[in-house]
């Protein structure tokens, strides 16, 4: 069984830390894992996509999730969630998205429009399995505006990717402790727990 997760956002939002937590989670669960990241120019405010594949009992080959095969999309920005929709499995896929839009430059310059029905479209795609919330507001409320990633992970923990594969909260928290710097751990855990409770 391989669980495929796509993490998308805008360069600089903290997607790399989210994938690191998922990697640590896989290690804690004794599973195989592959993560594919993009560094460099794509991090300068462009679309970024991270592929996470966690497996058990069968080899994980490709470091990339195939289109149509992601069990979950974790999105730091709604437009990026929409862009990643083709990765989602045709049925039963899960979308966790921040609702705070970041308009791309083409929208800022007036060359393109930011679609106003993004969440509706996501609901269509995922057959209703969409958790959309203002992760930035939540993180800011707890005094950790950089912790949008932990807010999204909290929502992911609240809605297991597969019904037969629920990961105990304590394992999540150990994985977070493995991946985030010790001095920000308390703030990150607070955001994670609040998002978990809010979206459960």
């Amino acid at each position: 069984m391989i669980t495929n997760i796509i993490i998308v956002g805008v360069g600089g939002q903290g997607a790399l830390l989210a994938s690191r937590v998922l990697g640590a989670l896989a290690l804690r669960l004794g599973r195989d894992v592959k993560v594919s990241e993009i560094h460099g120019m794509a991090q300068r405010g462009g679309s970024v996509i991270t592929h996470v594949r966690i497996g058990e009992g069968e080899p994980i080959y490709a470091p990339l999730v195939a289109e149509g095969e992601a069990d979950a999309v974790l999105a730091f920005e709604p437009l990026e969630a929409l862009r990643a929709a083709p990765y989602l499995v045709p049925e039963g896929g899960l979308i966790i998205t921040n609702t705070r839009p970041i308009p791309p430059m083409s929208v800022l310059t007036g060359a393109a429009r930011y679609p106003d029905d993004v969440i509706d479209k996501l609901n269509e795609t995922a057959g209703g399995r969409v958790t959309a919330f203002d992760a930035l507001e939540l993180a800011e409320r707890l005094g950790a505006p950089r912790a949008v990633n932990l807010a999204l992970l909290g929502a992911l923990a609240a809605r297991p990717v597969r019904s037969d594969d629920s990961v105990p909260l304590s394992v999540w928290e150990s994985a977070i402790a493995d991946a985030v710097p010790p001095r920000t751990l308390a703030a990150n855990l607070a955001v994670f727990r609040e998002a978990y409770n809010q979206t459960k």
Partner: protein, 585 residues
């Protein structure tokens, strides 16, 4: 798997070098190779440096190897172009201690100016080249490369790409095997490449390549065969191996660890096992052509194409007619949302420069770095960009073709790290040959695009320890430039008058635009505030990601993105934007 670590391919290469007893690492940063050298710097036993460019890094590697230390040098594909000169002759001299050259390609052009295929360097310079497929192989092949390098007396190349270098997978690590420094022995006939010794070494090179090819054809280190029956066979290596395993589960597979020289005996044996033979590889038909040259019938590129990265979906589509190839799942049909290419960060010092260059409608000869983004809207202020350091030579060429009047409307722009990498020689040339150009050195105190590496102007070494900080003004003067000035680009008046005066000057002049990268500025300033916006749109010409318009057309600030740099307040003709200090009442 409790004893395994989740490592980037790049981290695993550094680990492999460390375990192999490598003593020296010299590299120039370049996506996707940068993290190898960064990770190497965390191991105390190795002498690790950011070199000033890839050619210098390769030469340091050559000297260290001749001197008896196992040595690693890492670069991106286009960096190997810069280092090609020493590399081709290093193939003749061979090594003393093992010398491994890592080159990371960028199929799909995530962060580069082309998608050249570095495997051709191996063939052209006659160097063995290994291609790992995951992080564990990155570690193992690096150790193997050092062994091969010493066994066959040759530099050995390791080829990576984005999906190897920047992919994490589980790695079993080991300990370091220390190596004693051998006694120094002179050997000019091997290491001084005058024509006489070079002729002899060329013969030695051919003999060595024959021996590598022979051993590779029967050596398990060079390939592996997975026999799934004889209907379809696929030859592949690196990332393509994983895509093939997933997309074509019924195919027999010959996985090449060594792509040059081709393990010909293994290829011939595999070809005889299968009815239909395909090659699946990214970029050029490198393996396919070599297999064909053996007289073995095969195909692949006619199906997969040469551009971009492969993927499971792409391999499935290319071989959909073959038995056992699964069809793709149905995909969500969403209209493509507006694209989001990279953009200069909020607070970026380059924004002030490109806003000004666009406003003045100057012709801009560009270079490689974050500032290449000045080409994109809303600035659109770049007319050419070729490779590291090319901005200055191209500006000189524009002057030669179009004369003084054109030069008065032209500038070259180059970053601090890029200037030291390969811009200084071009500036020397421009002065020497009486060119007329205005050069803007965008000194943001760091190598930005690749993720903040120190360089000779930053004043720190790879470990963050204080180092000599080169005086860029003095360098330009020493190269013969008489008009050199420096300014803060956020002082738009100073920038404008400098541009007016220096472009009017017929000769070479340099403006050093100095302000640290916004990401280095840890001081959190409160966001700017807008009050009484007149909707003129002047600030929107900055292309700042923190500024947008509300439904009525008034400018609004995203406090999550704004770093309070205040550049928008400076360009607002109605003083409607305030630095937070100014509105704090």
């Amino acid at each position: 798997m409790p004893d395994k670590k989740l490592m980037l391919g790049n981290e695993a290469i550094a680990r492999g070098a460390w375990e192999a007893g490598c003593g020296v690492v010299a590299s120039y940063p370049g996506t996707p190779s940068t993290e190898i050298t960064e990770a190497a710097a965390s191991y105390g036993e190795m002498d690790v440096e950011w070199s000033v460019n890839e050619k210098v890094a390769m030469e340091i590697a050559a000297g260290a190897s001749i001197g008896g230390a196992r040595t690693l040098t890492c670069m991106k594909h286009v960096g190997l172009n810069v280092a090609a000169d020493p590399l081709f002759t290093l193939a003749y001299t061979g090594v003393n201690a093992g010398l491994v050259v890592v080159v990371a390609d960028d199929p799909g052009v995530h962060s580069s100016q082309n998608e050249q295929d570095s495997r051709f360097y191996a063939r052209s310079a006659h160097l063995p080249m290994l291609i790992p497929a995951d992080a564990q192989e990155c570690l193992a092949f690096t150790k193997l490369a050092f062994e091969l390098s010493e066994r066959f007396d040759t530099p050995v190349m390791i080829g990576a790409c984005t999906r190897i270098a920047h992919a994490r997978s589980l790695v079993q690590t080991g300990g370091r095997v220390e190596r004693d420094l051998p006694e120094w022995k002179r050997n000019p006939a091997k290491y001084v490449m005058l024509p006489g010794p070079a002729r002899a070494r060329h013969l030695a090179l051919e003999d060595r390549e024959r021996r590598v090819r022979e051993e590779a054809g029967i050596g398990e280190w060079a390939y592996s065969i997975e026999d799934n029956g004889g209907a379809v066979g696929v030859i592949c290596s690196g990332t393509a191996y994983h895509y093939v395993k997933e997309a074509m589960p019924e195919a027999s597979v010959l996985k090449l660890n060594l792509v040059y020289p081709l393990p010909e005996r293994a290829v011939a044996r595999f070809a005889s096992m299968v009815e239909r033979l395909f090659v699946v590889e990214e970029l050029e038909p490198f393996i396919e052509d070599a297999v064909r040259a053996m007289g073995v019938e095969c195909s692949g590129k006619d199906r997969t194409g040469r551009q971009g990265e492969l993927s499971v979906n792409r391999v499935r589509a290319a071989f959909a007619d073959l038995p056992g190839v699964k069809r793709d799942a149905a995909r969500a049909d969403v209209t493509e949302p507006p694209a989001r290419p990279p953009a200069m960060c909020a607070g970026c010092p380059h924004r002030a420069v490109f806003y000004t260059l666009a406003k003045r409608k100057l012709t801009v000869s560009g270079d490689i770095g974050c500032y290449t983004l000045g080409m994109l809207p809303p600035h659109g202020a770049m007319d050419a960009c070729l490779c590291m350091g090319a901005s200055i030579g191209m500006a000189a060429g524009l002057h030669k073709a179009r004369g003084d009047d054109f030069a008065r409307r032209t500038v070259a722009v180059i970053g601090d790290s890029t200037f030291m990498h390969s811009g200084m020689t071009a500036l020397l040339d421009a002065v020497y040959n009486r060119s007329s150009l205005t050069l803007l050195i965008l000194d943001n105190r760091i190598t930005g695009m690749t993720g903040h590496q120190h360089n000779p102007a930053s004043g720190f070494d790879i470990h963050g320890e204080p180092a000599n900080a080169v005086d860029l003004e003095a360098v330009c003067r020493a190269l013969g430039v008489t008009r050199v000035r420096s300014l803060d680009p956020f002082d738009l008046d100073a920038l404008n008058s400098a541009l007016s005066e220096e472009t009017a000057f017929d000769g070479v002049s340099v403006i050093i635009s100095r302000r640290p990268c916004a990401l280095l500025d840890k001081k959190r300033r409160p966001p700017v505030a807008v009050e009484g916006c007149r909707k003129c749109g002047a600030c929107m010409k900055l292309g700042c990601p923190a500024l947008s318009k509300d439904k009525g057309g008034a400018v609004i600030v995203d406090p999550a993105q704004c770093v309070g740099c205040g550049l928008c307040a400076r360009v607002c003709p109605f003083q409607a934007i305030h630095d937070a200090e100014a509105v704090k009442v």
